[in-house]
């Protein structure tokens, strides 16, 4: 091969850095040892497994083939393709794909997405009655969330389903953004420093983002939205970490809008220019005047938190703070300073199956005390119960929060504390010791005047040598230091090693030279038709005129491009089974569904719905009725 003898400047691409064939098939499911189920329900099945090759503990997400008619679900394909292009500490990494071949060669193989195992999702943690977050912890998670968003937006990707349930956290305190089933490339300029979300020049579909995290401009049906939609979700998650539950839990789109305006004020031409030109929410365009009560609702969080929260929950999507600027907000640079990920407490795993138990027993159980499990307690009692921060973080060069390596987990440095027998089956009690002085999860400490309280056990928790967003003491590298190592001396912030370059436009996602003008009807989101550079049909081996008479057969009928009707009465909560609707049979029978991706992309199955506070668009992608009922019954 001519490629073989290259100069040193040339990167050989036949093999990856570790010498494996880059161009190879998937691994087999037999390469993994099954360790147990993590969750199941409407979204499918996630299991924990150990790789026989590397020993790493991973999560295996089975891709459900809901819509057999369309083959491999496009959402899954798109997610896989996107994830393969991303590499960041705060983005869940797709390790590889594993295949389970059926014995019957006529049967389709099952596919699994292999990701590092993450111990919790944020939503589950918040639901756990015994867990509450301290302010340094919240700051730590927020910084990581914002770093992840910054990376995504920088690389022109819209996540479009930002919510607590999609944020995974491991016991090293690393937060990662997961579930890219709704993500798509963003075609406009990425946000710039100091300029909010910028403006978009093209339309996207409005049927995205789980309702409780959906920004006002989407509720009012702005189609030309920007990366700012993800920032709204970040704001909702921020508030949720304080309150322990979603802060804007509307029961319909309209109600969602009303709740938003209740919190941040009703829209007017000053705080949301252009709002009156938008189609409106479920036909409603007038809203009762509200002043907004955000400072009151969050008064215990201190003025800086309120300031950041109102920057994130700004009605005007052009002025809503972007991730770059949010990271510079004084909130992260004032005491109590953000914790370092490695210093955060560990929690019992909280996954779907465990969480069900919490749901049933949240009220019945004695109120869970807080101190011990949350290393840095609200009253400053750091590690009072003798739980040191995990020592694996120190001195061994192990980098627990490095994307893609964090899963090489050494055995736990110490065994779990004793758990009382009778409790084990019904309730896996988190590792903590009761503290009767705290009958309810206490409020997070006020932001400002508490610095003294964070000094304990002779350790200055608010380190005077604060550096770059994380405390920088001698206990090993902070997240930023490690990143610096990786990037070989890059900047402290923004040291993302890999950036999808500008030339990423070559991505086949976007037809560059299309014959779109010859298609039945150019779709709205397609780039303008252009024949430039397209080879003339005449040059091809046969004449263009030779199209068979049944032309129509090749043009998908217009009808199928229409969106399925939206039903305002359709429940979205996961605990309510969706009612069987009269037109379900018709919908099921659609031979070829041009799904809700009005931006020209079809949706063939929400194969992973971790928690179905999902946008309406997904509902018809759910599994057949019987499965769904069973799953819901099991859940209760």
């Amino acid at each position: 091969m001519a490629q073989a003898g290259g100069t040193p400047s040339k990167v050989p691409l036949e093999r990856t850095d570790d010498g494996k064939l880059r161009f190879r098939g998937c691994s087999r499911i037999q390469d993994y040892d099954f360790l147990g189920k993590l969750g199941e329900g409407t979204f499918g099945e996630v299991s924990k497994a150990r790789s026989k090759r590397t020993g790493a503990v991973v999560a295996l997400k089975k891709i459900l083939m809901h819509n057999e008619k369309d083959g491999f679900p496009i959402t899954a394909l798109r997610e896989i393709k996107l994830l393969k292009q991303l590499d960041h500490v705060n983005i869940l990494k797709l390790e590889e794909m594993a295949v389970e071949r059926s014995k019957d060669p006529k049967k389709k193989p099952s596919m699994f997405m292999v990701t590092p195992y993450m111990d919790h999702d944020l939503s589950g943690l918040l639901e756990n009655p015994s867990v509450h977050f301290t302010e340094p912890q919240i700051k730590c998670y927020m910084i990581q969330l914002l770093e992840g968003c910054k990376y995504l937006h920088e690389n022109k990707i819209l996540h479009r389903d930002m919510k607590a349930a999609n944020l995974l956290i491991n016991n090293y305190g690393i937060l990662q953004i997961a579930d890219f089933g709704l993500a798509r490339p963003y075609d406009d300029e990425p946000p710039k420093e100091g300029q909010g979300g910028g403006e978009a020049t093209r339309d996207y579909t409005c049927l995205v983002v789980t309702r409780w995290y959906r920004p006002p401009e989407l509720l009012l049906q702005l189609r030309r939205y920007t990366t700012a939609i993800d920032m709204w979700g970040v704001g909702c998650v921020f508030g949720e970490m304080f309150k322990g539950r979603p802060i804007l839990a509307g029961n319909s789109d309209l109600n969602q809008a009303q709740q938003i305006f209740e919190l941040v004020g009703s829209p007017n031409d000053d705080n949301m220019p252009g709002w009156s030109e938008l189609p409106g929410c479920e036909g409603v365009k007038e809203f009762e005047f509200r002043r907004g009560n955000l400072p009151t609702v969050f008064r215990e969080q201190g003025s800086l938190a309120i300031s950041l929260l109102s920057e994130l929950l700004k009605l005007d999507w052009r002025k809503r703070v972007n991730a770059i600027d949010a990271l510079k907000h004084p909130y992260f640079h004032s005491p109590p300073l953000p914790a370092r990920p490695g210093d955060l407490p560990q929690f019992e795993d909280s996954h779907e199956l465990d969480r069900r138990k919490f749901r049933g027993q949240k009220q019945a159980l004695p109120p869970a005390p807080a101190g011990g499990s949350v290393g840095m307690g609200p009253n400053g009692q750091w590690a009072e119960n003798g739980r040191p921060p995990p020592n694996i973080q120190r001195g061994r060069g192990h980098q627990p929060y490095q994307n893609g390596q964090g899963h090489h987990r050494p055995p736990p440095p110490y065994s779990r504390p004793y758990q009382p027998g009778p409790d084990i089956d019904t309730y896996r009690r988190p590792t903590l010791h009761p503290d009767p002085s705290l009958p309810l999860p206490p409020k997070p400490p006020p932001a400002l005047d508490q610095s003294g309280a964070f000094r304990n056990n002779n350790r200055v928790l608010v380190d005077p040598q604060y550096n770059g967003g994380f405390r920088n003491d001698s206990r090993g590298p902070g997240i930023m230091d490690q990143r610096r190592d990786r990037s070989g001396g890059g900047a402290v912030y923004g040291g993302d090693r890999r950036r999808v370059p500008e030339v990423a436009k070559v991505d086949t996602y976007i037809p560059n030279y299309s014959n779109v003008s010859e298609r039945a009807a150019p779709r709205r989101d397609e780039p303008p038709p252009s024949r430039d550079g397209y080879p003339p049909r005449e040059s091809l081996p046969f004449a263009r005129d030779s199209v068979p008479p049944s032309r129509e057969a090749f043009i998908p009928s217009r009808e199928h491009q229409l969106l399925p009707p939206r039903d305002p009465t359709y429940p979205l909560r996961d605990d309510l089974p969706p009612p069987r609707r009269e037109d379900d049979h018709r919908r099921d029978g659609l031979p070829y569904e041009r799904g809700r991706y009005e931006d020209g992309r079809r949706d063939a199955g929400g194969y992973d719905r971790r928690r179905s506070r999902s946008p309406r668009g997904r509902d018809w992608d759910r599994p057949p009725m019987r499965e769904r009922d069973a799953a819901d019954r099991y859940r209760r």
Binding site: E96, P109, K505, V506, N512, F542, A553, P556
Partner: protein
């Protein structure tokens, strides 16, 4: 399955020499000439893409996916996938990934037509009917039952392709690069660009798997070099290809490959024209 890095976004995974060898071995084990069959399959796929009104980048992607599948699947002695079904699955898959998805039904219809006696593919269909009795549409009618069966096969093959290529569905194409290079060289003209793109699209059909052995920049440079020679456009003096990170040897190899393709295609056409029935059987999975 490492994530795609900066450089990988513009490049494709390439085959190794061993993989090419095993493909060659596989070819030897079959009665029919593997190159010839692969070429016929590629032409069929390209034709179907046109009838499905797919943009050329979608068709190109599907051809590259098909080639990757060949290498992975045949090279390792897995079950031989049906030629037609594999072609259908690859085009269905790449369309699904693009902004212009097509339905399995359309795919089935188009392939039924292309492999029928009425086909407009020059070396599959009958010679142009002598006006008296043009072959009727019955010859390519797909009944509901056979459609259902075929769709099942397509979808099965789709997952086979995906697992074989390790979900590496990202394909970097040289076409836009070539346009940029032509402009950078300051020789942009309709005639030249047309020829460049013809070479690039021809290269897609080549059984030499050019898109798996060379990166897009090399393909683009070679196509420009050859096209400029043919069209008579004077390019800058000196080793300009080095600016685009292409070596002389690569360039020479690719220019030869692009240049010889016309002859190869003509020979193939002649060959199959005498054996229409056999080819149709081969492609339809009968052979």
């Amino acid at each position: 399955m490492a994530p795609i890095t900066e450089v990988e976004h513009l490049t494709n995974p390439l085959v190794t020499v061993e993989q090419l060898y095993s493909l060659q071995d596989d070819d030897r084990n079959h009665a029919e000439n593997g190159q010839s069959v692969r070429y016929a399959q590629a032409v069929l796929t390209q034709a179907a893409g046109i009838l499905l009104r797919l943009p050329q980048d979608v068709v190109a992607t599907s051809l590259v996916l098909l080639q990757r599948f060949w290498v992975e699947n045949l090279g390792q002695g897995h079950a031989t996938a049906d030629l037609k079904i594999a072609s259908e699955a690859s085009i269905y898959l790449s369309a699904k990934l693009s902004f212009t998805p097509v339905s399995p039904r359309s795919v089935c219809n188009v392939y039924a037509y292309l492999l029928s006696t009425s086909s407009s593919l020059p070396f599959i269909g009958c010679p142009p009917p002598s006006a008296a009795t043009p072959p009727g549409p019955q010859s390519y009618y797909v009944s509901e039952g056979s459609y259902e069966r075929e769709r099942e096969k397509i979808l099965l093959c789709e997952s086979l392709i995906l697992s074989s290529i390790g979900f590496d569905v990202h394909v970097a194409l040289p076409h836009t690069l070539a346009l940029t290079y032509v402009q950078a060289l300051g020789v942009s003209s309709r005639k030249l660009v047309k020829r460049v793109l013809e070479h690039l699209n021809g290269g897609l059909l080549s059984p030499q798997l050019l898109y798996l052995t060379h990166q897009p920049n090399a393909l683009a440079v070679a196509a420009i070099y050859l096209a400029a020679k043919e069209v008579g456009v004077k390019l800058v003096d000196g080793n300009w290809w080095e600016v685009f990170d292409v070596e002389r040897e690569d360039l020479g190899f690719l220019v030869l490959a692009f240049g010889s393709f016309v002859g190869f295609a003509a020979a193939e056409k002649e060959r199959w024209e005498n054996e229409r029935e056999k080819l149709r059987e081969l492609l339809s999975g009968g052979g």
